[in-house]
Symmetry: none
Subunit: 203 residues, 4 copies
Amino acid sequence: MTTQRKSLSGTTRRNETSRRAILAAAFELVQEVGYAKLSIEGIAARAGVGKQTIYRWWPSKGAVLFDAFLMLSEQPDSGESALPDTGDLEADLKAVLRATIDELNDPRYDEPMRALNTEITHDPALAALYAERLDGPMRELKKQRLRSAQRAGQLAEDLDLDVAVDMLWGPLLNRWLQRNGALTAEYVDNIVETALNGLRPRH
Amino acid sequence: MTTQRKSLSGTTRRNETSRRAILAAAFELVQEVGYAKLSIEGIAARAGVGKQTIYRWWPSKGAVLFDAFLMLSEQPDSGESALPDTGDLEADLKAVLRATIDELNDPRYDEPMRALNTEITHDPALAALYAERLDGPMRELKKQRLRSAQRAGQLAEDLDLDVAVDMLWGPLLNRWLQRNGALTAEYVDNIVETALNGLRPRH
Amino acid sequence: MTTQRKSLSGTTRRNETSRRAILAAAFELVQEVGYAKLSIEGIAARAGVGKQTIYRWWPSKGAVLFDAFLMLSEQPDSGESALPDTGDLEADLKAVLRATIDELNDPRYDEPMRALNTEITHDPALAALYAERLDGPMRELKKQRLRSAQRAGQLAEDLDLDVAVDMLWGPLLNRWLQRNGALTAEYVDNIVETALNGLRPRH
Amino acid sequence: MTTQRKSLSGTTRRNETSRRAILAAAFELVQEVGYAKLSIEGIAARAGVGKQTIYRWWPSKGAVLFDAFLMLSEQPDSGESALPDTGDLEADLKAVLRATIDELNDPRYDEPMRALNTEITHDPALAALYAERLDGPMRELKKQRLRSAQRAGQLAEDLDLDVAVDMLWGPLLNRWLQRNGALTAEYVDNIVETALNGLRPRH
DNA sequence: CTGTAATCGAGACGGTACGTCAGGTCTTACT
DNA sequence: AGTAAGACCTGACGTACCGTCTCGATTACAG
C-alpha cells in the first residue's frame, strides 16, 4: 500500500497515473460486481494496467481497496478539520450521525465500505492501518467535540470518551453491517437521546 | 439451506449423515484455514462427500456456514431459555456481556463468527434468515430481561428496548469486528454503567 | 446386451416396452447429439426410464448402441435373404455397392454407424459380437454371390472370397471412416472395375 | 493445434518445453489407459502443466492427439523420402504393406492410432488436417511408387492411382479397425497378389 | 545526450477452485 | 422382482483468477 513508497529518496519511478487508475478501478468495480467478485485481474483490466503493477505495489486485494479509501479521504474537500459545535450537543450529535447514515445509505459507498470492513475483520494488519489512518483521525474529531461538551459540563466528568464514541456510533455501524434494521433519522435521534440520558429513569 | 428441505412431505431422500458431516466440516475448516481460504471443495473433501451433494442442498458457501451455526444453536444444551434475572440489572447485564465477549474471544468461534458476519453483510437474504433464526430469538431473550427491569422501574418507561439492546451490544460487536480495541471485562463494565447512567452528568 | 437375457427359463421379468424405448432413444440421440455427447443419462431421460434399468441389462453405452442396430437389422423388411444375381457380376456388384454408399451417405445412419465403428474399434468383445451377429451374416451373403460367379467361371478358381470381399468393401468403408474423399457412384464403379480386372494391364 | 501458432511474427510467448511435454504425455497416456479414459486433466498432470495451457493452444483432446502424431512424423529419422523401388513391384508392395501391419500390430501404436482414427471419424475439421498433414504426404509417396511402375508398363495405363492405393491399403485398415481378422503377412501377400491380378481369371 | 536500469502493458505459466455434467451404485416407493 | 426416480460419491469438464514469470517498449536518471 501507499506506505511502501520509497519515501526517503523521494525518487520512486512509480507511475502516478497507473496508481490512480488502479485505485479508481478498484473502487468502481467493488460497487459494480460486489466484494466477492472483485478480482485483481478485473482491476488491472479496468485500469488498463498489467497485473504485475498491482502486485508490485500492494500486497493484497484489501490493501488496494484500503488505499482507494485513503485517496478519497485525502481529497481537499473532505478535509473536515472539526465537527460542528453550536453549543447544543444533542443537536450537533444528531446532525453528525445523520450525515454518517446518509453516507452508509448511499449506494455509491455501501458496497465499498462493506468490503473494507470485511477486509479489516479478517486482516489484523489492515485493521491497524485503518485505525491509524482513517478511523483514528475521525475518532479524534469526535472526541474533540465531546471533550468540548464535557468542559461545558454537559457530559459526566468521569466519562470515558472512547466508550462514549463507541456507544453513539457502534449501534449504527452494527445495524448497518448486520442489516438488522433500517438506518433512519428517527433511529439516530433515538440513539443520541437514549445515550445522553441513559437507560435508567432520570429522577 | 435448511429451509429448502421439503418439510411438508417429510420424505426427502436426503442423507442426514452427509448433512451433518458437511456442516461439521465447514465449521472446522473455517477455524483452521480462515474464511478467505474456505472452499466448497475443501468442505466436501473433509466431509467425505461429493461436491454435488453440497451444491444440491445449499446455494452458497455462506449458506453452509450459516446452517452450521444453526445446527450448533439447536443443540439441546445451548437451549438458553432465559437470561439471568437476579433483580440486580447492572450485575446481570455485566455477566451476560462478559459471557458474550468470552465467546467472541474464544479462538474456536472467532474465525467462524467473523465469516458469518461477512456473509451476512454481503448477502441480504442470508441476513434476513439470520435475523429470523439466530439473532431474533437471542434478541428476544435480551429484551425480556430488560422488560422485566422496566416493569420494576429500573429502566425508563418510554425506553425503546431495541435501541437499548443495540446500545449495549453494538459497541462490543463493533469493536470486535473492526478490531479497534480489546474486549475486556473492564470495557464491558464501562459500557454497561455508561449506558445505564447516560453520558450526561446525573444531577 | 441382448445375450444377457435369461433365455433358458424364458420367464424374465424384463419389460419389453422399456427395452424398445431405450434402443430407440439411443439411436435417435446419437444422430442428434453425436457420439461424443451420447450419455446413458440422456438415453434414460429420453426413454422415460430409470438409469438402473439400462445398467441392469447392458454393460456399456456401446452395447446399447449395438443392440439398437441389431433391432434395426432384425426388422422383417430388412431381412434380405440374398444379393441380386442377374448373371452380370459387374453390374450386380455395382448395384450392391451403390446401395451401401447410399446408406453410409444417409444422414440418419451416418453418425450412428460411425459411433458403432468407434465402439467396435475400442472393444474387442463388441467386435466379436458384431462379427457374429451383424457383419458375419452380411458377409456370408456377399460371399454367396461371389461363389456363384466363381462357379460360373467369372472369378479366379483359387480366389479367397474373404479377400475379395475386403477388396471390394474395404476401400469404401475406409474412405468413409477417414473422410478422405466423397463416396460417389463413380468411385464405386471404379473400385468394382479395378478390382475385377486387377491393377496390372490385361494383355 | 500446431497451425494456431502465430508463425508470421515468430514471437509467440509459447513455451516449447511445455508443448513437447503435453504431446508426449498424451501419446503415452493413450497407450496406457486407452482412448476412452484419456482426459485433458490426466495429460496436464502427467506433463506437469496447468490445464489452461492445454486449453490455450488446442481446441480438443483430439487435436492434442493429432499434434502428438504430427510431432512423431516430423522426427528426422522418420523422414521417409520414398518407398523402395527395386523394380519388382509385387515384392516392393508386399514389403511396404508388411511394414504397415507391423506398425498396426505394435502395441505401442495400436491404441494411439485407433484413437486418432476415432477422432478423425467424428471431426471433419481434424479429418481435413489429417488428410493434409499426415495422410496426404504418405499417399503421395505410395502413388509415386505406383506411377513408376505404371511408366514401366507394370500397371494399367488408365489406372486411377488413388483407387489403387485404396484397394491396397483399404482392406488392411478396415480389417484392423473392425477387428475382423488378424493382420498377417499371408493376408497382406494375398491382398497384393489379388489386387494386382484382379478377381477375374487371367485367361 | 546517451546508456542503463527500473517500470510499464501484456500475457503465458503452474496451480486451485469454481459450478456443472455424467458415470455407476444404491435406496425408496410403486406396480 | 422389476421399475422410475433420484440421491450419492467420484472424477472430469472447461472457466476464472491466483501470484509468478518473462517479454519488448517506454522512461527518467546518471554518467
